[in-house]
């Protein structure tokens, strides 16, 4: 068990290193750095001035050295500025002499956001908090709803209830967030054609979450996931219902309801558990789309802003979070699967 865990975590760390390096490399391509130089030193500077600016602030060093600096294993670059030394490790308004030599992700220093004019770590904390609420409500709606649909559809395979619920779940998986969002807003929030039950924007939900301003974004993300999880649950439930022990229980005279709840449910929920965990990375996608569509300024919105405005440190911070979410959910899903399913041994 421990060896398995150790190996998994080592692979995870390697994956995280590779992925963050790829993001670092892609965000630090020459045209992006040129944009940084122009936004810092003035947009009309010549190519030679751009080159000298990049040289001065250490951007022209090899990408591996700069990745190491960002990570916190290579000393931070120090440049001679107009008012004394400037550098990544020297925060604005602090004494250069007291600045640490290393400042990277490993030291907890996430960098400075050029767009929001704040430290990246601080922005991420607030934005992730907002997205956390969104995720929480999505999960609270999605998991019970999809499990219920899946169990109801799978307990009598081929029945009318099964057919109709399966069609509903296929329809929701065929509706990506940007489509269901548009349709839901048109039906429920549009001031011309709609019912005006809910608000078409979730900006207000950042201060106070109400049913009126949060229902549509949550439903938009949840709908896409519901169909997928429900189909997995249905398949798993239908398979369990054909097992010998279910028939035995039925023949012994146990009521159908009790068979489903006592005998079938636990075994049928093993497969959906993995699916739900692996759904987290997908939620990330949905979160980005929905936060953009409903103007809810959480993590996804920040990611779009950072990517659109060439905010390199912010984008790197976002990608670290995103990659960690994906990797940790993968690990939990593997461990949880093994824990729930006694037939699997980790070794």
């Amino acid at each position: 068990m421990l060896r398995f865990l150790g190996r998994r975590i080592a692979t995870m760390a390697l994956t995280a290193l590779c992925l963050t390096f790829v993001v670092f490399w892609l965000t630090n391509l020459p045209p992006n750095l040129e944009k940084v130089a122009k936004s810092e030193a003035g947009s009309r500077i010549s190519d030679a001035e751009v080159a000298s600016w990049l040289e001065k602030y250490g951007y022209s060093r090899p990408v591996f050295a700069r990745y190491g600096e960002w990570l916190g294993v290579v000393p931070g670059h120090v440049a001679e500025g107009a008012n004394g030394p400037e550098g990544r490790c020297i925060l604005r308004g602090t004494d250069p002499a007291a600045a640490p030599r290393y400042c990277g992700i490993l030291q907890g220093y996430w960098g400075w956001s050029n767009v929001f004019k704040e430290p990246v770590g601080k922005i991420l904390a607030t934005r992730l908090g907002l997205t956390g609420w969104l995720m929480f409500w999505v999960m609270a709606v999605m998991v019970p709803a999809s499990l219920l649909i899946g169990v109801l559809a799978g307990m009598r395979e081929g029945s009318k209830l099964d057919r109709s619920l399966s069609t509903v779940s296929i329809a929701t998986t065929a509706t990506p967030e940007y489509v269901s969002g548009v349709i839901l807003v048109t039906i429920f929030a549009s001031s011309v054609t709609g019912l005006k039950w809910f608000k078409g924007t979730a900006t207000g939900a950042m201060d106070e979450i109400t049913f009126e301003n949060f229902f549509l974004p949550v439903m938009t993300i949840a709908l896409y996931g519901i169909g997928y999880i429900a189909r997995m649950t249905r398949a798993s439930m239908a398979e369990v219902m054909t097992q010998q022990y279910i028939r035995t229980a039925r023949l012994k005279g146990v009521r159908f309801r009790d068979v489903v709840i006592r005998h079938a449910l636990r075994n049928a929920l093993i497969a959906p558990f993995t699916v739900i965990m692996l759904q987290f990375p997908w939620l990330l996608n949905g979160v980005v789309i929905v936060e953009t569509l409903f103007n809810y300024k959480g993590f996804g919105w920040t990611l779009v802003q950072a990517a659109g405005n060439n905010d390199i440190d912010m984008l790197l911070g976002c990608s670290v979070v995103a990659v960690l979410v994906v990797l940790i959910t993968q690990l939990i899903s593997d461990l949880g699967y093994a824990w729930l399913n006694p037939r699997i041994r980790l070794s």
Binding site: L19, I170, Y178, V185, V192, P281, V323
Partner: protein
């Protein structure tokens, strides 16, 4: 001219789509008559779900094919007075040569929503299946040896594929599908070795590799035939390859705009690892079968066993996944359009149209809702088709 009511709008659209109905009717009649001789495709017509899905998919395919006949206006033409016009509005400026109404209204730039939706089907149906096919070629060519041979090859390939899968899709799109990325990288003999170009050069090579191995493993005992097949594959393949990956097709038939190439390559790149995992899993399952052992005893080569013994037996799940994956690719393309990445703003593809329409969503929903429903119905059709195929292929 008066504005049309909803029944009149529907009637006018049905009439405009006449070529599609005729083609659909023909395909269905012919297929139903000969369905006992058409294998899996014929059996699709026994399942109501599969048939519905097939009908929806073919509806969009025919709409894309006959798009120039169906559209009522030029999808880029902006007519005065038609800005955000409601569905069924009559044209303000009465030129007699034009269709007298905007059937599904006008968008924020006074263009006809209906015509743009129809032309958008062309864009989507040109890119999504092709990108999926490329992803399958890459996934199959790498997944078969990873599953069959295993060992270190499998470890490395699986690690790389997990790497790509752990990458948040949207972040990848934002990083890869930017115009600037086309202009970075060293220039080699007039060809810019930028990231998308290099990726295209690698990814587009896989189909050629696949078919060469396919012919060679089967016909290496008959060199004359093998040389003919491989010669034809190489001639055709390299011609298309030169055009698509290097933009160096002398005849100019095969070429891709840099933007489109960006989008295409990223979509293939995102899809290939999943296909790889499916193929690898299927191969690992099938390689313990008796016919594989029999092939090995007969002295068949590993590539022959992979491509001519295992792959045909894995076709059921792969066909089903192919349908699902086209739908997924359509969703991805829509996501790209939704974030305004890659394609030009004038392009009528559904994702970009939804993106353009969402700004006025609460006042004039129709420019965004029409492409949204179109996209949803196509993906729904593909999912239903996949479901029908799965059901029918499980019956044997």
């Amino acid at each position: 001219m008066d504005a049309l009511s909803w029944p009149a709008i529907l009637a006018a659209m049905t009439l405009q789509l006449l070529p599609v109905w005729v083609a659909l009717g023909l395909v269905f009649t012919v297929s139903r008559i000969y369905r006992r001789h058409l294998g899996l495709y014929g059996r699709l017509f026994d399942s109501p779900i599969g048939m519905t899905g097939f009908a929806i998919v073919m509806f969009w395919v025919f709409t894309a094919i006959f798009a120039p006949l169906i559209i009522t206006h030029d999808p880029l033409a902006q007519l005065s007075g038609m800005k955000n016009a409601l569905p069924g509005s009559a044209l303000k400026s009465g030129a007699d040569t034009l269709f007298p109404h905007y059937l599904l209204g006008g968008d924020a730039l006074a263009r006809d929503v209906f015509s743009r939706m129809v032309m958008g089907a062309r864009d989507v149906l040109a890119i999504a299946p092709a990108a999926t096919a490329f992803a399958f070629m890459v996934g199959i060519t790498l997944g078969l040896p990873a599953g069959y041979i295993g060992g270190r090859l499998d470890t490395v390939l699986s690690f790389v594929s997990n790497l790509v899968l752990a990458f948040p899709v949207i972040l990848l799109f934002y990083l890869l599908v930017t115009p600037e990325i086309q202009n970075t990288g060293p220039l080699i003999a007039g060809w810019r070795a930028s990231i998308p170009n290099v990726m295209a050069a690698v990814l587009f090579g896989f189909p050629i590799l696949f078919f060469c191995i396919l012919w060679n493993s089967r016909f290496f005992t008959d060199p004359r035939r093998r040389n003919i097949y491989i010669g034809i594959t190489l001639a055709l393949g390299l011609w298309v390859y030169a055009g698509l990956a290097f933009n160096a097709d002398p005849t100019g038939i095969w070429a891709m705009e840099p933007n489109l190439l960006n989008v295409f390559v990223s979509v293939v790149f995102v899809n290939a690892p999943t296909v790889f995992r499916i193929v690898r899993g299927l191969t690992m399952d099938l390689k313990s079968r008796d016919y594989v052992a029999a092939g090995q005893t007969r002295g068949e080569g590993p590539w022959y066993i992979m491509l001519w013994e295992i792959l045909p037996n894995a076709r059921g799940p792969l066909i089903v996944d192919f349908c699902l994956r086209i739908g997924y690719t359509t969703i991805l393309l829509g996501t790209l359009g939704f974030f305004g990445l890659g394609v030009s703003p004038e392009s009528p593809d559904w994702g970009s149209t939804i993106n353009a329409g969402r700004r006025l969503l609460s006042v004039f929903p129709h420019p965004a809702v029409v492409p949204a429903i179109a996209l949803m119905s196509l993906v729904l059709g593909l999912n239903l088709l996949a479901d029908g195929l799965r059901e029918e292929s499980l019956k044997d």
